[in-house]
């Protein structure tokens, strides 16, 4: 019998809302320490240059300047600014190049950090930057991956021949690709390009670093991966890890931007040099050019299909633009390849990728990781294939998609659950698929519909090491402190985890206090990545809560003279089954446990280390309806229907918010966002919200979210993940709808009116 839930599944208000609405919520930039200095970074104006000489004497003499540092003042240790290489053993991690210093001794993109200043106030720090004299020797630069791989191209890193940082063959390749092509009745060959999308969090990167009198370092920074950030910083600066306290205040949005080190190493280097607290805040422009972005890919696809719609072969050749440094390029590429290769059943699969250095800002990981890039190509190829064999694109997908019991990313972990068919059925009804699909198209404004699907992850099991460590301690008033190393970056983690804890403990939501993000107070967690929080941390909380509940019940059993198994906790009361009158409050138990005058004193508490047992993938079906003006190529988005296979919605309002937000990112990816780098000098032209356009509410169509709840066996109350799913398949759904409306197939992001017109005129001729 399914147990009746009293907290989980409810549309509760966000528990961090009052603090955020009133301004009480503290972000890193709000924190001020006595005697704190302000840091500023000198960045290269050249896309590629040798640094011949740096004269910092004038800057050092400026009153108020406390330190000017260059690559000579910092540890000579190469590192990878991405943090997730710490989650695989060294023999695997070492495949990803460590190619960055805290400050560079050679400029590899416009914006590369060359020197840094700490001064008593911001103005002095800025003035000091102007006084640092750097003698550069400009080198030829290369911005395009094809150019970068040509013989004689400028060499960006000495070890990377042809600027190829790494070649990866997808380890899950199966069958014989050539045999698969031969068996096909229809061959589809298409090449797609994706763009360098920016996360655009409201809060730019910031850090405060402070060493105390015994040399213990405290860092405040908005990172998604608290413990990993600490681990990497300890290694770079050779500081014993126990001597670093890392605090993550509220994070003002991240979307994957804080999966790497950003301002932290430079800030810590300045604090170490001055032995004073230093704050380093990136400006909005620095956020645009000096952090990281979604990795652009060229994806060449070859798919073989039988006349009955069965896929016989799928080949992908990927070229990824890593930018000037490697960062998260390897893991992003791996995710892209895996998502591309394993969404559909196919006996012959091969995917190869080259990751290439260029002199543009760094690429890394962004909500969806490599999945949106993979879906942009794959979900359009599937649309093409379905039409070629005369099938409805929905039927084609239903025939071929990998479902429960099929291998997922790895054969070792089969797909645990899948409600894609239900998502598709409900989504089709809502958008009016059968009535609208493929209708005749006339007039200037042509309507069309399209769809795409996606499958994502609930964490990284078994690809990476992953575990969550939770503590719950009861207070004497019957409330609970939940101590968890996660960050609240707007995703709603506080509320979701509190709802899970409240449900399992049998307490009201207001009795849960979440303590988060402080290595002095909370235990190891690999962090907020791969949409893992609800599934992994949620399960860890349930296990911890059960320990706590057991202690409560054992004490209650003595008082109520009932067996533990015959009692349950609900709304803060411990009841005896079948006897509602025979009860005692949790508060009574916790008070008597702590203020115990019979020598049985104890602070009721629990802790657990939880390694996820599974990785149930959430599926989504996205439907888009568009109206394209064939005179000017303008696309108007009329409607998005998004059906999501969540397992269980812990808080349906929060699920809808996550998905709508993801859809908005997907719409920006498809239609408005374009990162422009000057092809002559490498200067980033999209360095502000004036010339890098994210959609506003005025650009949003009506978005209808359908939550499909079929609880997954290993999930907390049956829940799977949601965080990244909203955007993965939005762009291809829109592109497929544009094709349906006009016959124009746009293969390169962003979809512009010009590209649609070009395709249209090619079709007419």
């Amino acid at each position: 019998m399914e147990r009746e839930l009293s907290v989980v599944g409810k549309r509760l208000p966000r528990i961090d809302a009052p603090a955020k609405v009133t301004g009480e919520a503290k972000y890193t930039v709000d924190i001020k320490l006595p005697g704190m200095l302000f840091g500023k970074v000198l960045r290269s104006p050249y896309a590629h240059a040798m640094i011949l000489k740096i004269d910092k004497s004038k800057a050092e003499k400026l009153p108020g300047v406390e330190a000017v540092i260059t690559s000579e003042d910092i540890p000579v240790k190469l590192f990878n600014s991405g943090l997730t290489d710490l989650l695989v053993p060294e023999e695997i991690a070492k495949n990803d190049p460590r190619d960055q210093y805290v400050l560079s001794n050679k400029a590899r993109f416009v914006g590369d950090a060359i020197a840094a200043v700490a001064a008593r106030d911001r103005k002095v720090a800025e003035a000091a930057l102007d006084l640092i004299e750097v003698e550069y020797k400009a080198l030829p630069a290369v911005f395009d991956v094809v150019e970068a791989m040509k013989p004689g191209a400028p060499k960006i890193h000495d070890f990377a021949n042809g600027n190829i940082a790494r070649h990866i063959s997808f380890p899950g390749a199966i069958g014989d690709i050539e045999k698969g092509f031969q068996e096909a009745d229809v061959m589809i060959e298409e090449t797609f390009n994706t763009t360098k999308q920016l996360h655009c969090p409201l809060e730019p990167s910031a850090c405060i670093a402070s060493f105390d009198s015994i040399g213990r370092l405290t860092v405040w920074s908005p990172t998604q991966l608290l413990y990993l950030a600490r681990h990497k910083i300890a290694d770079i600066f050779d500081i014993p890890e126990g001597k670093i306290r890392w605090i993550t205040p509220f994070v003002g949005g991240s979307f994957g931007n804080a999966l790497t080190l950003r301002a932290e190493p430079i800030c810590i280097a300045l604090a170490r040099k001055t032995r004073k607290p230093v704050k380093l805040e990136y400006s909005s422009e620095e956020q645009f050019i000096a952090t990281q972005s979604r990795q652009p890919f060229t994806i060449a696809v070859k798919m073989g299909v039988k006349n009955d719609g069965a896929i016989t072969a799928l080949q992908g050749k990927l070229t990824a633009n890593s930018g000037a440094y490697y960062s998260l390029s390897g893991t992003t590429t791996n995710v892209c390849m895996a998502m591309f290769a394993t969404l559909y059943r196919c006996p012959n699969v091969s995917v190869e990728a080259d990751i290439v250095y260029t002199n543009i800002p760094i690429s890394g990981g962004y909500r969806g990781y490599g999945n949106p890039q993979a879906m942009w190509a794959l979900e359009q190829v599937v649309d093409v294939a379905a039409r070629r064999v005369g099938m409805d694109p929905v039927e084609f997908r239903l025939k071929n998609y990998r479902r429960a019991g099929d291998p997922g990313w790895t054969a070792s972990l089969p797909i645990e659950s899948c409600a894609l068919e239900e998502c598709i059925k409900l989504g089709m009804d809502k958008i009016g698929w059968r009535e609208k699909m493929g209708g005749t198209k006339e007039g200037v404004k042509r309507r069309g519909i399209g769809m795409a699907i996606q499958r994502h992850v609930s964490g990284t099991q078994p690809m990476q090491m992953t575990h969550s460590n939770i503590m719950i301690k009861m207070n004497v008033d019957g409330s609970a402190d939940l101590m968890v190393s996660g960050c609240e970056m707007g995703q709603g983690m506080f509320g979701v985890l509190a709802q899970i804890a409240a449900e399992e403990l049998g307490l009201q939501i207001g009795k849960i206090h979440v303590v988060n993000g402080d290595t002095d107070e909370t235990m190891f967690d690999d962090g907020q990545h791969a949409s893992r929080t609800t599934y992994v941390i949620g399960n860890a909380i349930i296990e911890t809560a059960r320990q706590v509940k057991q202690q409560l019940l054992e004490r209650a059993s003595k008082i109520l003279a009932t067996r533990v198994d015959d009692m349950y906790v609900r709304d803060g009361q411990i009841y005896v089954r079948g006897d509602l009158e025979n009860k005692i409050s949790v508060e009574d138990i916790t008070r008597r446990a702590t203020y115990n005058f019979e020598g049985q004193g104890r602070n009721i508490a629990g802790k657990c280390s939880y390694v996820p047992k599974g990785n149930p993938p959430p599926y989504s079906a996205v439907f888009a309806e568009v109206e394209v003006d064939i005179n000017n190529g303008a696309t108007k988005l009329l409607k998005i229907v998004f059906a999501h296979d969540i397992g269980r919605a812990i808080n349906p309002t929060n699920v809808e918010g996550q998905l709508e937000g993801g859809v908005m990112h997907g719409i920006g990816y498809a239609l408005t966002e374009e990162y422009m780098v000057n092809g002559n000098n490498g200067v980033v032209e999209s360095d502000s919200f004036t010339n890098y356009k994210i959609p506003s509410t005025l650009d949003m169509p009506n978005v209808e979210v359908i939550i499909v709840e079929q609880p997954t066996p290993s999930g907390p109350f049956g829940a799977k993940s949601v965080g990244e799913c909203g955007l993965n398949a939005v762009a291809p759904a829109i592109a497929n709808a544009i094709y349906d409306a006009t016959g124009a197939r746009v293969r390169d992001l962003r979809i512009t009116p010009e590209k649609i017109l070009e395709e249209l005129s090619a079709n007419i001729l």
Partner: protein, 289 residues
């Protein structure tokens, strides 16, 4: 990357007379600060670093909207876009100006930014300018030496360049009443999103000869398709004395497109000029018939 302003000397005159005295002294070394929506970001990014900043927004003389049947409309230079867009007289008699002002920037920018500041920035894509061109506005400009009137099509001399000197300020925009039996409209497309810079803007005014049932004359101004917004005179000529039938509208649209000199996305902008001129004229003609 820089966010702090370079230091400067700051003045906040309360009258036009005080303002022009200061400007007379410092000329081009001074910058006039009104709403600040363009100047402050430019200073923060150190695109400009004036030694003197003259804040004129406290000058109450320049915040009027007056209308008379004879003298037409008089708008003080410090009236915000929002005030223009929500003025009942402007919405009634100069609807395209209200519409153009409501396109500028974002709600915040429209409340801070002023019409005088907007025209003095003189950007090629600024939405108020095509509307002022077809309304044949003129600018009242004041310096210590006195005042002068500059017709709108002489006011803009190039991208971000105007005919006023560093010693002068614009105090008023004067707009004559539109001809009787005329209608006007402003249409645009943006570069990417709804709240975005204008990719192409078209303002048009059609005067009607009701007795003969033909178009007496037309004024068409194009924004964001050349170094400065301009009147498409050749296209206008085609309309004079004609009925606006679809063939003629096509010819006008093509003529207008040929008068443009876009710097980027040129083919697309030209195509869009043709389409927008066409849709604007069709819309206006349908109102007149």
């Amino acid at each position: 990357m820089i966010t702090t302003l370079k230091s400067f000397q700051y003045f906040h005159p309360n009258t036009v007379e005080e303002a022009v005295q200061i400007l007379n002294k410092y000329g081009d070394r001074a910058k006039v600060l009104a709403g600040g929506t363009d100047l402050i970001p430019s200073m923060k990014r150190q695109k400009i670093a004036p030694q003197y900043v003259v804040y004129i927004n406290d000058i109450s003389q320049l915040k009027h909207i007056d209308f008379g049947a004879e003298e037409g409309l008089r708008i003080g230079a410090l009236v915000s876009h929002h005030s223009i867009a929500s003025s009942s007289i402007i919405r009634e008699k100069f609807q395209l100006l209200a519409k153009a002002c409501n396109k500028v920037g974002t709600p915040h920018v429209r409340r801070m930014g002023t019409i005088g500041g907007n025209i003095c920035m003189a950007g090629p894509s600024q939405d108020t300018i095509p509307a002022l061109l077809v309304l044949e506005a003129q600018m009242k400009v004041v310096s210590l030496q006195g005042e002068r009137i500059i017709p709108v099509d002489e006011f803009f001399t190039g991208p971000f360049q105007t005919a006023i000197t560093g010693e002068e300020i614009v105090t008023e925009i004067q707009i004559p009443c539109p001809p009787s039996d005329s209608v006007a409209d402003y249409q645009w497309v943006t570069k990417r999103t709804v709240v975005d810079e204008t990719l192409v803007g078209v303002a048009a005014l059609l005067g009607m000869d009701l007795d003969r049932g033909v178009c007496k004359g037309a004024r068409i101004a194009l924004g964001s398709v050349g170094p400065k917004p301009f009147r498409a005179r050749e296209a206008e000529e085609i309309i004079k004395g004609e009925k606006l039938e679809s063939k003629l509208i096509e010819a006008v649209a093509q003529a207008a497109a040929e008068e443009t000199k876009p710097r980027s996305r040129a083919d697309y902008r030209r195509r869009e000029v043709g389409l927008l001129v066409k849709s604007t004229l069709e819309h206006l003609w349908s109102q007149l018939r």
